[in-house]
Symmetry: C2
Subunit: 450 residues, 2 copies
């Protein structure tokens, strides 16, 4: 008998990527669709329109997360969720995030096209502000859904262009008026997020699918160095409070402290700017960011906890302020989900490997709520966060087939152990099963800071 993956439509999936790519297109092959901008809102509106056109229910929550729901036979059963984000980097590509949203929508359409019904509801999710480059912290939507923050705690976040999150969120929510409103998270039976790898391993190894084992730890900091403006031609070094020179010394100390001969650690200064920014004025202020990641929890925690003191120790005559944008310990995905992805890939004759994720994803927060995992597909040269980010229609569809079958199995309550899934059942429906008790939203709230 046929399975949901048989109804995944490669052309439809690709065309929807190209349709979303129009929102914020830069004209250089990439896109600037930062969170809660007009282009982000228009991309969401397009998605909601497609959902309504197929008879699915669009739902929005207080964090601006947009869900497309296909109801299950058991109306109140915990849902199976899949999704990612539509916001991008300022010079981003057309697949990072978008793929996970559209693969989830394609799964719903494949299920509808194939006439599959399922016990549990399945929802495709658009998480708000995953990238975090316009408003900190990133993963705003999954932070709120998973109970790590109330949205009210994030309302005052301000973008470099002076916009306030609360205003931009209201404006964006108003752009999908057809969406039902829902507050807070819902009980979940499972979560799988599809995503381009954003690294070179799958392509280099000839693999179609990565069964993601977890996400390395990642921290992000805002650093402000404050000195005194002065004339570049007159003030002697001994009397300078040169914010650039101090920032340089701090970065130098960070490069030394975070150096890693095994090339496992990832350390990036992505934003760095000196003020007032005149060639012949000693800068009185420098603002920069630190991004540090490592898969080992102990190593990660040791380095991250030392960063603020390290900055202070090398600030010289200037003052330094270090603010945590984000600090997430390494996350291990659910073994059953990982195994399910591997098994389905094998059944579909798609070469697959287990692999960790270098990038962080909304899945890291969902892993605190339910059995969670991810499906990676190749991207050309491993290039991402770049307008040259590319993925092929075939690779996107292949990953989506794995996702569709996996979500369907989870929505049917099959636990995925070898031999337990009645995958050739005539009706496509299995008898009711007891769900693993989902962790409630209330418990997630008590889980402490991310």
């Amino acid at each position: 008998m046929r399975r949901p993956s048989d109804f995944v439509d490669e052309r439809r999936l690709w065309d929807r990527h190209m349709a979303i790519a129009a929102f914020g297109a830069t004209g250089r092959g990439g896109v600037d669709r930062q969170a809660l901008t007009g282009d982000d809102g228009r991309a969401r509106a397009a998605l909601a329109g497609w959902a309504v056109g197929r008879g699915f229910r669009p739902i929005a929550d207080e964090a601006g997360n947009l869900f497309v729901r296909r109801d299950g036979a058991e109306a109140d059963a915990p849902a199976v969720l899949s999704g990612s984000h539509l916001d991008t980097q300022p010079a981003g590509g057309n697949f990072d995030g978008v793929y996970g949203v559209l693969a989830a929508l394609e799964t719903l359409e494949a299920l509808a096209d194939g006439g599959f019904e399922h016990r549990r509801p399945i929802e495709a999710a658009v998480w708000t502000n995953e990238e975090g480059c316009r408003f900190a912290p990133g993963c705003t939507g999954s932070l709120v859904f998973s109970g790590k923050h109330a949205i009210e705690e994030l309302w005052n976040a301000t973008s470099p262009d002076g916009a306030v999150l609360k205003d931009e969120l209201e404006r964006t929510l108003a752009m999908t008026p057809e969406a039902e409103r829902r507050r807070g998270g819902i009980p979940l039976a499972g979560y799988i997020e599809a995503h381009i790898e954003q690294g070179p391993r799958l392509e280099a190894g000839g693999f179609a699918v990565g069964a993601v084992t977890g996400i390395q730890g990642g921290a992000s900091f805002d650093v402000t160095v404050s000195g005194t403006d002065g004339h570049a031609g007159t003030v002697p070094l001994a009397e300078r409070r040169d914010a650039f020179r101090s920032a340089h010394a701090i970065v130098d100390a960070l490069y030394r402290d975070l150096a890693d001969p095994t090339d496992t650690a990832r350390f990036t200064i992505g934003r760095f700017r000196a003020w007032p920014g005149s060639p012949n004025t000693i800068p009185g202020k420098v603002v920069f960011t630190i991004d540090f990641r490592h898969p080992d929890a102990t190593f990660y925690r040791g380095k991250v906890d030392a960063i603020a003191d390290l900055c202070a120790a090398h600030a010289g005559p200037c003052d330094v302020d270090v603010t945590v944008r984000h600090d997430g310990d390494p996350v291990a995905f659910d073994e059953a989900v990982i195994g399910r992805v591997e098994r389905i890939a094998a059944e579909l004759r798609l070469p697959a490997i287990r692999m960790p994720s270098g990038a962080s994803h909304d899945a890291a927060y969902m892993a605190s709520l339910c059995p969670a995992g991810m499906v990676f597909v190749p991207c050309r040269g491993g290039i991402s966060h770049n307008e040259d980010e590319r993925a092929s229609p075939e690779d996107l569809a292949a990953g989506c087939r794995v996702l569709a079958d996996a979500l369907y199995e989870m929505a049917m309550g099959w636990d995925g152990s070898p031999g337990t899934a009645p995958r050739r059942a005539a009706t496509g429906r299995a008898g009711p099963r007891r769900d693993a008790r989902p962790r409630s939203r209330g418990r997630a709230r008590d889980a402490g800071a991310p």
Copy 2:
């Protein structure tokens, strides 16, 4: 008998500073009146209005330089010039540049109030874009006046905000319609520029006046480092073309190479920015500036000529492009002008010292055309290029008295040697003297690049 300095009006001079300070006032005690902006134009218009109100002739040239002329008895005699600039740093003060313009205007008014006539014309000059922070190179106006560049060669200069110099120049010139138009430089008999010191020596030593001996060599570069955008969490160090990391290595090499245990050299990174500027994207581009100054011509030239190669040698996996914004060898002022400033200060009982200038000034270009010098006055704490830049009405007026007498002597043709100046002459006019032959504009054009 009375001399021009007796008619310098401290209150008028101060009030005019405060009037100009309104154009581009930031509300934090300083000003943002960058070159050829609307505020720059409005400040020029105010000055032209004051000139017309006193019967002086406003004149504008093709570089936007604005002159206020008081004619001399000999209509075609080479002029005595004095001035500075009205443009400021983006977070600048109310005295840098403005003082030199207003002290020159105050001299004309003092001469008029005292009924002094003079052989040679005296002009107060506003030089266009001295600061160079909006359009490179700086000293646009004096570069053109002194024949180092034709204005047409600078028309395409573009500001960080995307404005083009030619357009901004036309708009600015249209704001002083009362000004006669003149093309090119004019023969000069002498030039003296009044300026705040922008350093701490006068204040610390209790001096009222600095007789400036020269200007140290100064060079400014734009450096662009080009790499590849990438995901901060995935790309291994070995595969990165991280423009920030390469820029850091270049700056580190520059700090080492330009280190000076005597604290004589001045090395500043005033502008530095990473693109696209997202916390979790490896920057594909960094742009920064280098400002280097030193009073010793040989040392200066050796270091400046090595900078481009030094940048290239430390760019790692990235590409680097180094462009010279400005490169000016050390300038020595005319001994007769220096001595005249010292002598007049002594006659006025103002404590004075000889001192070099750490900052560059339009006077550096005038020194290629005629005997030139500068008068420095104290500024509080030596602070400049800063909204906290301050100077007292008394100090400004004291420097202006020296300037007024010096300009008058030069306009009378007195050569300033001890014993030769009939300073107590009953009429305030001396018999005609042969001017030292002024270097012609044609010769200056042949003087080569600055």
